[in-house]
């Protein structure tokens, strides 16, 4: 698109990495949503995926490994006019940041969380991530991973998330549509994105995913939570992609007594007379 408002920059990713398509899909999604880049805040933790906020022309916050969600939620809390998007890795989001993942589903601040799920720790050169298949052999899991793979979409639905989707970086058009829906969704929206890591994951490759993924069709009822949980458990010979579950529920802002009327805390000052009243209560 020539009238694109979002620019992307040179990356430090390996040639052939699934991250490139994710960056393209995101840029196209943002353009199609006609967002002003100045109103977009991209947030990442640390990892290969988490570098994405550095590669697109928008505001960015590159914080700590595992800690992308808390500052993102807080940024939205204090300035709801911003579109806040997290791009981070599976290790970052589900491992180091697992507690924030669970509790920000419950907090339901209106942010979109895009997780580049390559089933490995890419930046630290290929150790098992929480989503690694059982038996994955890595420099650390030398006899193969013993742990049960973490199922982020099932977990998210169980914890009460209102928008849970899975995408595949090998289907960029489909992914772009998922991203648009997630950004537009009011509340916490999760898109777990299957992302081949060409350098460190020689099992879950483009070909491996391509043979298995299929798009959920119009028949699929994304409003049925029990069915969505069952569908979320499908991961093996066939892997469903698309919106697994969607159900609007009151957001953090809508329920918050201070924020629900549009209060913007960023740049705000306190009224000294109110502080004085508090002081006089202590007299």
């Amino acid at each position: 698109m020539s009238d694109s408002r979002f620019e992307t920059f040179e990356t430090a990713w390996c040639p052939g990495c699934g991250n490139f398509n994710i960056l393209d899909s995101l840029k196209n999604a943002l353009d199609e949503l006609a967002l002003d880049p100045h109103d977009v805040l991209m947030v990442g933790g640390i990892g290969q995926a988490a570098k994405l906020p550095q590669y697109i022309s928008a505001n960015s916050f590159s914080g700590l490994h595992g800690r992308a969600v808390p500052p993102a939620a807080a940024a939205k809390i204090v300035n709801p006019a911003l579109t806040v998007i997290i791009n981070s890795g599976d290790g970052d989001s589900y491992g180091e940041g697992g507690n924030h993942f669970i509790h920000n589903i419950r907090r339901n601040v209106d942010i979109a969380h895009f997780i580049h799920d390559n089933q490995v720790y890419g930046l630290t050169k290929g150790q098992a991530s929480p989503t690694a298949d059982k038996g994955s052999v890595t420099p650390v899991q030398v006899e193969g991973s013993l742990n049960i793979p973490f199922n982020p979409v099932l977990m998210a639905i169980a914890a009460g998330a209102g928008f849970v989707a899975r995408g595949f970086s090998g289907r960029p058009e489909h992914l772009k549509e998922l991203m648009k829906q997630a950004i537009r969704f009011k509340g916490y929206a999760l898109v777990d994105i299957l992302q081949p890591c060409v350098s460190f994951n020689k099992v879950n490759t483009f070909a491996w995913y391509s043979q298995r993924v299929y798009e959920l069709d119009k028949e699929y009822d994304r409003g049925d939570r029990a069915a969505a949980m069952l569908k979320s458990m499908e991961f093996g010979d066939r892997i469903p992609i698309g919106v697994l579950y969607q159900e609007e529920q009151p957001t953090f802002h809508e329920q918050h007594e201070v924020l629900k009327n549009g209060q913007i805390l960023a740049g705000r000052k306190n009224d000294p007379e109110l502080v004085r009243e508090l002081m006089l209560e202590m007299v």
Partner: protein
């Protein structure tokens, strides 16, 4: 000045009795200071409070008691050795004691007659106030503020009954404190934060910091601010950083254990140059330690926490007015230099209450940076002469705003080259030099030209003030004390000056290793000659400092 101890089992209403006492003493014009000695339990265990009052607001407790209100027998057994010969013990007539100072009253009997044994504390408070010749005119108003409407009448009557049950014994004291606030150190800090423009507070509950979270939550609707209980301390501090990055004045608070979890993010605030105010209300460590008691053992932790090197400031809070003023200052310094500023409090100050004049929040200075027009596109980490890059917030049309924990260039993009690294390090660390110009010297108490110089910090202000007063009254030598508020960077002008004229330097600290003394030696080469240290979770009193000093031969 008088000293009254109120003791009983947890759940027996010690706190209610103390609140009533404080309010009525203040209404009568007294300056009041109370320390709470709490057990880390909800029920059972021995709790007591020391209420000290007089013409001026006392700033520390004393061990020499004029009276004891004993809501149970244990209180007498535990504390009678500290009661002066002419002191009194107010207790229920059922309590068995051979102490001739006891004044047994029908505390329970009167209370039950009025409707509930729970009003026994009010009977005792009424009697105590009478013994101190203090009027109880404001009683109804006090109870209306603190009790459910159904309980007010009963407690007023209980108080009056106690008042009539004894004769005045001590001369009335009092000053002009009736119009002042009475509040805990944590509330003074919270009010400072609000006056400074706090918009976002995130924390995870941990004693003795929790009452900051609870108080701010209780006023959040009125103030129109966000107060969030985070899923853990790591989330709390990262949320505060996110809020500050986006343009809201933000703070996070905890005690040492929670601070341990925040350490990495402390460095993020330094590296990404996001202003942040962090509160550490110290309690005895390590780990869970003594959860409801006091200590000053986090000083070296605060000045060195987090990997790498970055500028930070650490301010120890000395007393209630200091807590209010320094919190405002912390917000301004954090914002001006785009650094983390740590407020170091402790349980003694945090839970202790004191009377304090009502400050004028409209006069709270709020740092407002000049709006520098962006030249050549906005760059968050623009190299400037001062090293301070103008802040903008996401949403600005002047460009993009970024924060980065990686080493970065002026635009916040990751770099690896040595030249940019060196320039960025110099830019950040240079702010530490600027910060040194903002430092406040420690406060000198006692003699202007001390022969014996005591050195302390934070909430030992009150005990040290009392100690030098007692020592100088004896007239054997000239005593002074330097009490540090700013501890990092360490101001050293007054210290060097007073140390040069003194024959002995003695550090006084609530820890095992003498952390300030070590810091002073590291920063100035000045060595102390002896130390008075305490680490049992109980604050030194002025009298104890004097006693220990004598033992050391000074």
């Amino acid at each position: 000045m008088y000293n009254l101890l109120v003791g009983g089992a947890a759940g027996q209403g010690v706190d209610t009795a103390v609140n009533t006492l404080e309010a009525l003493l203040k209404a009568a014009g007294c300056g009041v200071f109370t320390v709470r000695d709490l057990m880390s339990r909800i029920r059972g265990g021995h709790n007591f409070s020391l209420v000290r009052f007089g013409e001026e607001t006392p700033r520390s407790h004393s061990e020499r008691l004029d009276g004891i209100i004993a809501l149970n027998e244990e209180t007498i057994a535990l504390h009678r050795d500290k009661l002066k010969p002419e002191g009194f013990i107010l207790c229920d007539e059922s309590v068995k004691t051979d102490d001739s100072r006891a004044i047994p009253l029908k505390l329970q009997g009167i209370a039950k007659l009025l409707g509930s044994g729970r009003a026994a504390g009010s009977v005792a408070v009424g009697a105590a106030l009478r013994l101190f010749s203090t009027p109880i005119d404001g009683a109804r108003r006090v109870f209306e503020k603190s009790l459910k409407p159904g309980l007010v009448e009963m407690n007023v009557k209980a108080l009056e009954a106690g008042y009539r049950a004894v004769e005045p014994r001590f001369e009335r004291v009092g000053g002009s404190h009736a119009g002042e606030m009475i509040l805990t150190g944590n509330k003074a800090l919270a009010l400072g934060a609000l006056a400074a423009g706090l918009q976002f507070y995130a924390a995870y509950p941990m004693s003795p910091s929790t009452s900051i979270l609870e108080y701010l939550a209780s006023v959040s609707l009125k103030m129109g601010i966000a107060v969030e209980q985070a899923e853990d301390e790591i989330a709390a501090v990262n949320m505060a950083i996110g809020a500050s990055f986006t343009g809201a004045r933000a703070m996070t608070g905890t005690s040492g254990g929670g601070f341990s979890l925040k350490v990495e993010a402390l460095g993020l605030s330094g590296m990404a140059e996001v202003p942040l105010v962090l509160v550490d209300v110290q309690r005895p460590g390590p780990v869970t330690g003594l959860p409801t008691r006091t200590e000053q053992s986090d000083l070296k932790f605060m000045i060195s926490a987090s990997q790498g090197e970055f500028p930070r400031m650490v301010i120890a809070l000395r007393h209630h007015e200091d807590a209010y003023r320094q919190t405002i200052r912390a917000f301004n310094l954090a914002e001006k230099y785009q650094i983390p500023v740590i407020l170091l409090s402790d349980q003694y100050l945090a839970d202790g209450t004191a009377t304090m004049p009502v400050p004028d929040p409209a006069k709270a200075e709020i740092y407002a940076p000049e709006d520098v027009p962006a030249e050549g596109g906005y760059a968050r980490y623009r190299f400037t002469e001062s090293g301070i890059s103008p802040r903008k917030f996401p949403g600005t049309r002047d460009g993009f705003v970024s924060a980065d924990s990686d080493e970065h260039d002026e635009y916040g993009k990751i770099i690896e080259d040595s030249e940019t690294r060196i320039r960025m390090m110099n830019k950040r660390m240079g702010k530490l030099e600027l910060l040194k110009r903002e430092l406040e010297e420690p406060q000198l108490l006692g003699d202007e030209r001390p022969e014996v110089l005591l050195i302390g910090w934070g909430s030992l202000y009150g005990p040290l003030e009392e100690a030098v007063r007692l020592l100088n009254a004896e007239g054997k030598a000239r005593y002074g004390a330097l009490v540090f508020g700013d501890v990092w960077p360490l101001p050293d002008r007054l210290l060097r000056e007073k140390a040069a004229g003194a024959r002995a330097l003695i550090h006084v600290e609530q820890n095992y290793t003498g952390q300030l003394a070590q810091l002073i030696r590291e920063q100035t080469g000045i060595r102390t000659d002896a130390g008075i240290l305490k680490y049992d979770g109980r604050q030194l009193s002025g009298e104890e400092i004097v006693r220990r000093l004598r033992e050391e031969g000074y």
